[in-house]
């Protein structure tokens, strides 16, 4: 019985790891499932999903946590290793053009990818600084269902 429950849970986890149409047809980006990643990343910002960057970008990022977007994001070695493993194994191995900059370069900044830029083309630059938003990295400020992995036109 326990074995069957486990198998079921693993099956659900596997399903959740593939993008699915849910929530009235909205595309859902699989949420971060790794406990350490969720806890550590979300201490400063939302736990960005692995799908937002190619695996090699996450790899570079996790190697340079002492210079993490202008801050030291030091982690204990074992925690860092576990989080790096999670991101590199759950992110796309091969980067499509939407996960690269318009120039075709790998970036650690999600907001520099073509996919992000295209999706936010109509947002006025001032909107990212306004009120509770504060920064482009604060997705949930506008995407109210970001915690469910839904990023519709909010």
């Amino acid at each position: 019985m326990i074995k069957r429950t486990m198998a079921f849970m693993l099956g659900v986890a596997a399903l959740a790891a593939t993008p699915a149409l849910a929530d009235g047809g909205a595309e859902r980006v699989p949420l971060v499932t790794n406990t350490k990643a969720k806890k550590e990343c979300s201490a400063c910002h939302m736990a960005f999903q692995p799908a937002f960057l190619p695996a090699d970008a996450w790899k570079t990022m996790m190697r340079n946590l002492d210079e993490h977007f202008g801050e030291n994001a030091f982690l204990m070695p074992e925690t860092k290793k576990a989080i790096a493993r999670y991101y590199t194994s759950h992110a796309p191995k091969k980067a499509g053009p939407m996960l690269l900059t318009p120039e075709g370069e790998t970036t650690q900044r999600i907001t520099e990818t073509s996919g992000w830029r295209n999706a936010h083309r109509e947002v006025k630059p001032g909107a990212f600084k306004a009120g509770d938003v504060g920064a482009k990295a604060n997705c949930p400020a506008c995407h109210k269902k970001a915690s469910k992995g839904v990023y519709e036109d909010d």
Partner: protein
């Protein structure tokens, strides 16, 4: 045997709860004691932590760190009893112990955040004296 261990654990947990609510949290005290021992080792003339020095550390503008975070208050705001905000727009719980009694009670967390934030703000590690001063100041807030 297991029952006895369980009983001891439960008793320990029960004892820990009321203590954690007060300012004199034993875990926080242990962390302070550790910094004190380190400070004494570095400097035999060390005469204790100072809330005033902690206040200066918190409010002063420092050089050497990241340009975006020259002061502790860059993220924690001028009032430690209020919530702060990270550069990515996420809320930071107040640092003042009076309004956030869990502050400085988890050793690993304390070490981690001093390591990160001292580097971001000062561009170096904080000394044990600075860390103890900072905690002592926040205990008065």
């Amino acid at each position: 045997m297991i029952h006895r261990i369980l009983a001891t654990t439960l008793l320990g947990a029960a004892l820990a709860v009321p203590a954690a609510a007060g300012a004199a949290d034993p875990d926080r005290q242990a962390i302070l004691d550790e910094f004190r021992a380190q400070a004494r080792k570095n400097n035999p003339d060390f005469s204790g932590f100072s809330a005033e020095r902690g206040r200066e550390l918190f409010y002063n503008r420092h050089g050497g760190g990241e340009p975006e975070t020259p002061r502790c208050t860059s993220c924690h705001t001028e009032d430690p009893t209020q919530a702060g905000e990270t550069r990515a727009g996420k809320r930071i719980g107040p640092v003042a112990v009076s309004v956030n009694p869990d502050r400085f009670t988890k050793r690993k967390k304390v070490y981690k955040w001093f390591a990160r934030n001292c580097d971001s703000v000062l561009g170096r590690r904080c000394t044990p004296t600075e860390k103890g001063d900072f905690m002592t100041f926040m205990l008065t807030q």
